[in-house]
């Protein structure tokens, strides 16, 4: 059995030798290079003069908005949602008005990137500056300027989610706590930026596009519409992709622009985003401001949660309201919240549009519910672990009806789980009781040590389907074709493990192909921790079909009942260990069933060969859960936080490859640590972005991410045949909440309160000053 084992990855041999093939490694004869001139203003009317650039050395063409066909002027909403009252798609090239710093205005096409950038400097853009809308609360005031002048306000969507009767719950409550909780803007920042190579293939008569998409089929549709081509005249390919983290799962204006240029010029075109562009123009996430309150009994049992929050949409809505919607449905988390009412306003500002970044609205949700629980624990003087025990959904209560409609339109129901067990295991691993008991001793030694806890749920494995094609080749090797591309998750390995077990074929004889829209007929894509579950289940279904077919064909050829046969070591054997009339490998079966050239098909009733297409459609999403615990020490003089121990206990159901899942968890925690302490996109009041380099936008390094201690407790999902749950984001979601609680706990004697992430040493220092002044007042 390879399923469930720590199989090393088939992807790695190339990548460790520098033999990966990423989009920037693709070179085509005659290829030209694009550099983009981007807006330097957050809100302005612009006039562009490109004449000097046109005649610069090596320049072959210059594109402005008016050069684009009507079908390629505005990026369509690839995921329309009726909640989004006032959708506004990004302009492919800004047409007279710019709405955020970084918005593309002009595309220069030249013989090299160097020459394209030289010419870009010759473009003159005249900015008639308008006051920018940056502050989220002010954007919602009546006096505010509007990001889109044709709209009545900056409101893009209003999202209500509720169940029960919160008015009654709060009227009956013994304890009510209110908090204003803020999460600042962050970004995915994969190590590979975005990039596109596009060319018109005159042989196949179609547009061939290599890009870094997590959703190549979505891109194919968007590109076909922009070029007014039929979908069968567009092929989207993904080579090795250097990290995705959600925000590569959307369509960007460049995804249309580059193919449009390639079509018009009829030469291969390459555009590789540089890091500065990536920081100022690739979609961000996370900015939300929550005014929330929780009502409990005197024992801390939750009666209700209610409130409002604002979500910063940025200047456009490329993926509708999905981020705040995910926050709104995830705030109750793994706790029993019988009465719940939240309303979110999605607000336009003159900033980069937002899109899901690993965690996707859930880190905010987890932060809200866990910060509220910590405040209740403090007010009622109940231990934080005990308070969570009293409120967690118990194992016997699953499947659990949360009480409202979820993101996918179904009644939100946690299919399975046992978060109380995750909590107890995390407490044991972090040695909660020991450290809690010793906190006074630590303090006496001048050490400020605290523990923080956070539990979360993640809706994973969304529908509607994925399709997989599978073929046993003449030599007995197996080819798997799928639509969900990898951005580093190790799908080639994990899915080969499933196939190896079903078809009894060695791991290295299985080739998993992805990242090519010709591979399957239809696909949705890799995001929302869904590929493992949805594509993985389709791989299982396809493998089972081929297994059944192999035994049927062998049964016919050997005059045996297929029920008496099974597959072992790449061939057919008798289940009872008895001898077969003749040896029959998978290769023999394929050879025989395909027949000989020019002769009639041998097994006419069974048809030729060993090839199939299968799909899987989950009835709804399955819920992964987790509990993280952090032990930290804080020096109140420097406000430096040291993570002494970090524990992640996860329930991802059944796992295909725990080694790969470990990697997902640890990497997720690494992003979460960045979200807690470091990662912050900053705009000034005029909408200028101040974090345009990796010296300003800080991400966690080897010095920031400690050893992560992991354990898994599995409650297999009943919603897919292998019992899997998605593992892509669980590592990230609870981290800011757990670390905030731990730091607060470490400095509890100072009255520290943390109400926003990220928080730096300076922020802790300022909060301590506030606490001191507050105490003195």
């Amino acid at each position: 059995m390879l399923f469930g084992t720590r199989q090393t990855r088939g992807e790695d041999d190339r990548l460790i030798q520098g033999k990966g093939r990423y989009v920037d490694d693709i070179k085509l004869p005659g290829m030209l290079h694009v550099a983009l001139v981007r807006s330097e203003a957050a809100r302005a009317h612009v006039k562009v003069d490109v004449e000097a650039a046109r005649s610069a050395p090596g320049v072959r063409a210059v594109f402005v908005a008016t050069d684009l066909p009507a079908s390629a002027k505005i990026l369509p909403d690839c995921h329309p949602n009726p909640v989004l009252r006032n959708p506004r798609g990004p302009q492919v090239l800004a047409d007279g008005v710019v709405r955020y710093v970084g918005e593309p205005i002009v595309a220069i096409v030249a013989e090299s990137r160097y020459l394209a950038e030289d010419a870009a400097e010759l473009v003159s853009v005249e900015y008639n500056l308008l006051p920018a809308v940056v502050d989220l609360e002010r954007a919602m005031s009546d006096e505010s300027r509007r990001v889109h002048e044709d709209l009545q306000s900056n409101l893009a969507a209003r999202i209500p989610v509720s169940c029960g009767d919160t008015d009654k719950a709060f009227a009956d409550a013994a304890c009510i706590v209110r908090e204003r909780l803020q999460i600042q803007r962050g970004a995915g920042q994969a190590m590979e930026t975005r990039g596109i190579v596009a060319h018109w293939d005159p042989h196949a008569e179609r547009m061939v596009v290599w890009n870094v998409s997590q959703v190549p089929f979505v891109h194919r549709t968007a590109i076909a519409n922009a070029l007014q081509l039929s979908e069968n005249s567009v092929q989207v390919l993904n080579p090795d992709v250097g990290g995705g983290f959600g925000y590569k799962g959307l369509t960007y204006v460049e995804d249309l622009l580059i193919p449009v240029i390639a079509r018009q010029l009829e030469v291969p075109i390459k555009w590789i985003e540089d890091r500065r562009e990536h920081l100022i123009a690739a979609y961000h996430e996370r900015t939300q401001l929550h005014d929330m309150e929780i009502a409990t009994t005197a024992d801390g049992v939750i009666l209700g949660i209610r409130g409002k929050f604002l979500c910063d949409a940025g200047a456009y809505t490329p993926w509708g309201p999905v981020v705040p919607l995910l926050t709104a449905v995830n705030i109750p988390g793994p706790y029993k919240v019988p009465n719940y009412k939240v309303e979110c306003d999605l607000v336009y500002t003159n900033t980069v549009p937002i899109a899901p970044v690993r965690g996707a609205g859930r880190p905010q949700a987890c932060y809200v519910s866990e910060r509220l629980l910590d405040a209740v624990a403090r007010k009622l003087n109940i231990d934080g672990a005990e308070l969570r025990r009293r409120n967690l959904i118990q194992a016997h209560e699953y499947p659990y009806d949360v009480g409202f409609i979820s993101r996918d339109g179904t009644r939100r129901t946690y299919d399975s789980g046992n978060v109380p067990a995750l909590l107890e295991r995390a407490l044991e691993m972090i040695e909660y009781d020991k450290h809690k008991a010793r906190q006074k001793d630590y303090a006496a030694q001048g050490r400020h040590i605290g523990i923080g806890l956070a539990c979360c749920v993640e809706d994973t494995g969304l529908g509607p389907f994925e399709e997989v094609g599978m073929t046993v080749e003449l030599d007995g090797s197996v080819t798997v074709r799928m639509g969900t591309p990898s951005q580093g998750q190790g799908q080639r390995t994990a899915f080969a493990q499933i196939v190896a077990d079903q078809l009894a074929v060695p791991f290295d004889k299985i080739k998993v192909l992805a990242g090519n829209t010709d591979n399957v007929r239809y696909s949705i894509g890799t995001f929302a921790s869904r590929a493992g579950i949805v594509t993985g289940s389709a791989v299982l279904n396809a493998s089972k079909q081929l297994r059944e077919r192999a035994l049927k064909i062998a049964g016919t050829l050997l005059q045996a009942s297929p029920d008496d046969l099974t597959l072992e070591d790449g061939g057919v054997v008798r289940k009872d260990g008895g001898k077969l009339g003749r040896a029959m490998s998978l290769s023999d079966i394929v050879h025989t069933s395909l027949g000989e050239s020019g002769a009639p098909l041998p097994l006419r009733d069974l048809g030729p060969g060993m090839s199939t297409v299968a799909s899987f459609s989950p009835p709804t999403n399955t819920f992964a859960t987790g509990c993280h615990a952090a032990l930290v020490e804080v020096d109140p003089r420097t406000c430096k936080v040291s993570i002494l121990k970090y524990v992640a206990v996860e329930d991802f159901g059944t796992m295909i490859n725990p080694m790969i899942v470990d990697g997902q968890v640890i990497g997720g925690v690494g992003l979460g640590i960045g979200n807690a302490f470091l990662e912050k996109v900053v705009y000034d009041d005029s909408g200028q972005i101040l974090t345009g380099t990796f010296m300003d936008y800080l991400v966690a390094t080897t010095m920031d991410v400690p050893h992560v201690h992991i354990d898994y407790l599995a409650t297999p999902s009943p919603l897919n045949p292998l019992g899997m749950k998605g593992a892509g984001q669980g590592g990230t979601i609870p981290v800011p909440a757990a670390l905030s609680a731990a730091v607060e706990d470490a400095l509890r004697d100072y009255g520290l309160r943390l109400r926003h992430v990220p928080f730096s040493e300076s922020d802790i220092f300022a909060a301590l000053q506030t606490a001191r002044t507050g105490a003195a007042a």
């Binding site: 033999k19 990423y22 070179k27 190590m191 990290g243 580093g488 991410v705």
Partner: protein
């Protein structure tokens, strides 16, 4: 402004092979030279401002950011890229350890980590975990959270030093 560019002749050894190119623009970065002119695309560009370490190569044995180094500056040196770490078909112990310990996911930052780690082990064949962390703190990885990278470097060091039963 596009100014007339000075062109130079550049000659150096890359992964043990000598190479010379004429008419190399003075402004051409070593990274672009290696990737585009030498087709050594294993060296990756993550930030082009010296912060992420993906483009790390060895110049005369010392780690350098090839995005901040001009090709002309490397004239007369010996350069090692990720493609030069293996000896023929025999992988460098770091390469084997990266695979064994699951020290890479998307693989984009991996060449920079491998090259930087190779420099570390040639300077300090038996580093502590903290020394590994400090040495690699100039390389950014967004996928792995670093833990398995550090484990891989310690495992490779143990192998090179002939230590059996590494405890990492």
């Amino acid at each position: 402004m596009s100014a007339p560019q000075i062109s130079l002749t550049v000659a150096f050894d890359v992964n043990g092979k000598s190479c010379a190119r004429h008419n190399v623009e003075a402004r051409r970065t070593l990274a672009d030279f290696l990737r585009e002119d030498m087709s050594l695309t294993g060296t990756h560009l993550g930030c082009e401002h010296g912060a992420c370490g993906a483009c790390t190569v060895l110049i005369d044995g010392a780690p350098a950011r090839s995005c901040l180094t001009l090709a002309a500056q490397a004239n007369g040196t010996q350069i090692t890229t990720v493609e030069g770490l293996a000896h023929g078909a025999v992988l460098h112990p770091l390469q084997r350890a990266f695979k064994e310990k699951h020290a890479l996911q998307c693989g984009f930052c991996t060449p920079g980590f491998l090259v930087a780690a190779a420099a570390l082990l040639s300077e300090n064949p038996d580093p502590t975990e903290l020394q590994v962390r400090e040495y690699l703190s100039g390389n950014i990885c967004r996928c792995t959270g670093y833990q398995f990278i550090i484990a891989a470097v310690l495992a490779a060091a143990a192998e090179i030093n002939g230590k059996a039963g590494s405890n990492v």
